[in-house]
């Protein structure tokens, strides 16, 4: 964006307009392609991977929304688990329909987010990360401790399915959910509230001096992020039907964080790209069996060393290389 605006100031507006239209059409095309996928493949396994990817996209996008306020929550996997267990337990013990359990699981997670976000809003950067990390550990331990209701170490079974029959209905439901949540969070990020959050991220002193209620906004964004984490967890519970605390531990939280960082934390598309790559790419190497985690590690290292802006920054990096090469040529010609 910046380099374009600087090199051609006259046509910058036209450029960015065209660029936006190109991005929009690419997004729509991508979604249409995803809609058509079940027509071309009937493999349950492929659908399963895509369904999980869509569910995780909801979580990673909401995780990135929290980070726009300068907070680094290391408990998002645990919040997903709170939603999953709340919905699952309501479904099994109270016999509620999944159309009630999913929203109530999400709301409960948001309430917990407020409860924990308020005292934690005093903590900054590393301390916030640590505090939320312990909270995540605590959630797992509470699930184990209440083994009589949650199933403890052996996992929780007996969640009632959302749809019967093939996975295609799940596929469209989770795709629709991912698109709807992404659009909602996109609108949120570029609203007045989102702008205030970015101001807090840049300098909380300046932000409070111009009348932005810092604590309120920080708690609010955690509540919003937790709502979507709980939502995805609840859908996960009703899709997978078996949940265990181990799928919401620190490893999961870090995995979600990796999705955001690999894609690019500075861009809204980052977590979507990152989650797709980190879930789909290792699947191509499924034949490697126990070697396959090395593929994800390789992706992480490539992103760290070569694309510090995340994988969505690839075009910029390539353009920079191209420009540098051309300049090098010019210098060579001149001398």
């Amino acid at each position: 964006m910046n380099s374009v605006a600087m090199s051609q100031p006259m046509s910058a507006g036209v450029r960015s307009d065209r660029k936006r239209r190109a991005k929009l059409s690419a997004t729509v095309g991508f979604i249409v392609a995803l809609c058509l996928l079940p027509v071309f493949t009937s493999s349950t396994y492929t659908l399963h991977i895509f369904i999980l990817t869509f569910i995780y996209i909801v979580t990673t996008v909401s995780l990135r929304t929290i980070t726009t306020s300068g907070q680094f929550p290391l408990a998002h996997g645990a919040f997903m688990g709170v939603g999953a267990y709340a919905a699952g337990m309501a479904s099994r013990w109270l016999g509620w329909s999944c159309w009630i359990t999913i929203p109530s699981g999400a709301l409960l997670t948001a309430a917990l987010g407020i409860l924990i976000g308020y005292p934690f809003s005093r903590l900054r950067t590393l301390y916030y990360a640590m505090g939320s990390l312990f909270f995540g550990l605590g959630v797992i331990q509470v699930v184990y401790a209440l083994g009589d209701w949650t199933g403890g170490y052996s996992g929780f079974t007996g969640v009632r399915p959302m749809f019967t029959g093939s996975k295609v209905s799940y596929y469209y439901f989770s795709l629709g959910l991912a698109v709807a949540c992404s659009v909602a969070l996109y609108r949120f990020e570029f609203s007045r509230i989102g702008t205030n959050l970015k101001a807090i991220h840049q300098s909380h002193e300046v932000a409070s001096s111009v009348g932005i209620n810092e604590a309120w906004y920080r708690v609010m964004v955690v509540a919003v992020g937790c709502f979507f984490a709980g939502l995805s967890g609840a859908v996960y519970a009703h899709y997978n039907l078996v949940i265990s605390a181990a799928s919401f531990n620190l490893g999961t939280t870090l995995g979600l964080f990796m999705g955001v960082l690999v894609g690019g934390i500075g861009s809204f598309a980052g977590p979507i790209v990152g989650t797709f790559i980190l879930t789909l790419f290792p699947e191509f190497f499924r034949d490697l069996r126990i070697y396959s985690p090395l593929v994800s590690a390789a992706i992480l290292l490539i992103a760290v060393y070569i694309f510090p802006q995340g994988l969505v920054g690839i075009p910029q990096v390539v353009r920079a290389w191209y420009i540098r090469d051309r300049k090098g040529d010019q210098v060579a010609h001149a001398s």
């Binding site: 903590l123 505090g131 909270f135 509470v142 083994g147 070697y291 994800s296 992480l300």
Partner: protein, 285 residues
């Protein structure tokens, strides 16, 4: 009474192991602001490399311990130079690198050992008997080694030239640099020291618990709790908090079901953190 003695030795052993791993982590955290998620994996490979030397090669356990420490410390220096130094101060990329390192190490261990259950042989055999009480020499020796290493490490950080330079860097990196301290070299030494201590803890614990590629995760959770409770930049605090944590871990399971004790320990930490966000002994923002 017998149980009281067993509990006390457990408290002391657990505490000294926690402190050994936490000391290195805390040193890096306060010196470079580095949240090294790979520290648990370093502890794990300590146990596995010790196993290779002691069982596969049949070396004397003490030689194995020494060789493991040297190798892992060298590995730590390598990690510092190529994986962490380029990204110091960039929280996101440090997290990515350390998660990648953890994944690689755990996967390599899985491939190498194909998930077998392994335990290191005891360092010494025999039981110390006095009247009705009995404590195995192994436990006493583990504690003695752990405690003396902690003493040496503390002396190193507090009294030696390199250690004092580390403290200077922790206080203010730029000022230390302007005083002519070679920040890069000292960081590398600190990294090697931290990794070496973690490897020793891994070796020593390896004869009590079964080695598993994921044993570092449990340890890492404890270490995080310890370092944050103690507060950044306080070495004395780590000792006291380590004893407290070891005591909680050894005593709570006697009073209630195991899963409850873990939950209560974490809840206590969260509550403490809410009231004292800088830890018990912390003095930095």
């Amino acid at each position: 009474m017998g149980q009281a003695i067993a509990t006390t030795t457990n408290v002391l052993i657990l505490s000294s192991m926690y402190i050994l791993v936490a000391l290195g982590f805390a040193l890096l955290f306060s010196m470079m602001g580095l949240l090294n998620f790979a520290h648990g994996a370093i502890y794990t490979i300590g146990g596995y490399i010790g196993y290779q030397f002691a069982v596969r090669l049949g070396l004397n356990p003490w030689t194995a311990l020494f060789l493991t420490t040297v190798i892992v410390a060298g590995f730590g220096a390598f990690l510092e130079k190529f994986c962490f130094r380029p990204f110091v101060g960039d929280f996101n990329r440090i997290v990515m690198v350390s998660v990648a390192i953890t994944t690689v190490l755990q996967t390599l261990i899985n491939i190498w050992e194909s998930g077998e259950v392994l335990t290191l042989p005891p360092f010494v055999t025999g039981v110390l008997k006095s009247g009705r009480f009995a404590v195995s020499y192994q436990r006493l020796v583990t504690f003695a080694v752990g405690a003396s290493l902690l003493g040496v490490a503390t002396w190193f950080v507090r009294r030696t030239r390199w250690g004092q330079q580390m403290q200077a860097i922790a206080q203010n990196t730029e000022a230390a640099f302007l005083q002519g301290i070679n920040v890069r070299r000292i960081s590398m030494i600190a990294f090697a020291l931290g990794c070496g201590l973690a490897a020793i803890a891994g070796c020593l614990m390896g004869s009590y618990i079964q080695l598993s590629p994921f044993m570092g995760d449990t340890m890492f959770a404890k270490v995080l709790i310890l370092v944050i409770l103690a507060g950044v930049g306080s070495i004395g605090g780590i000792f006291l908090t380590g004893l407290l944590l070891g005591a909680l871990d050894a005593v709570l399971p006697l009073l209630m079901r195991g899963s409850f004790s873990d939950a209560i320990a974490v809840v206590i930490v969260v509550v403490l953190l809410l009231f004292k966000p800088k830890g018990f002994f912390g003095h930095e923002a």
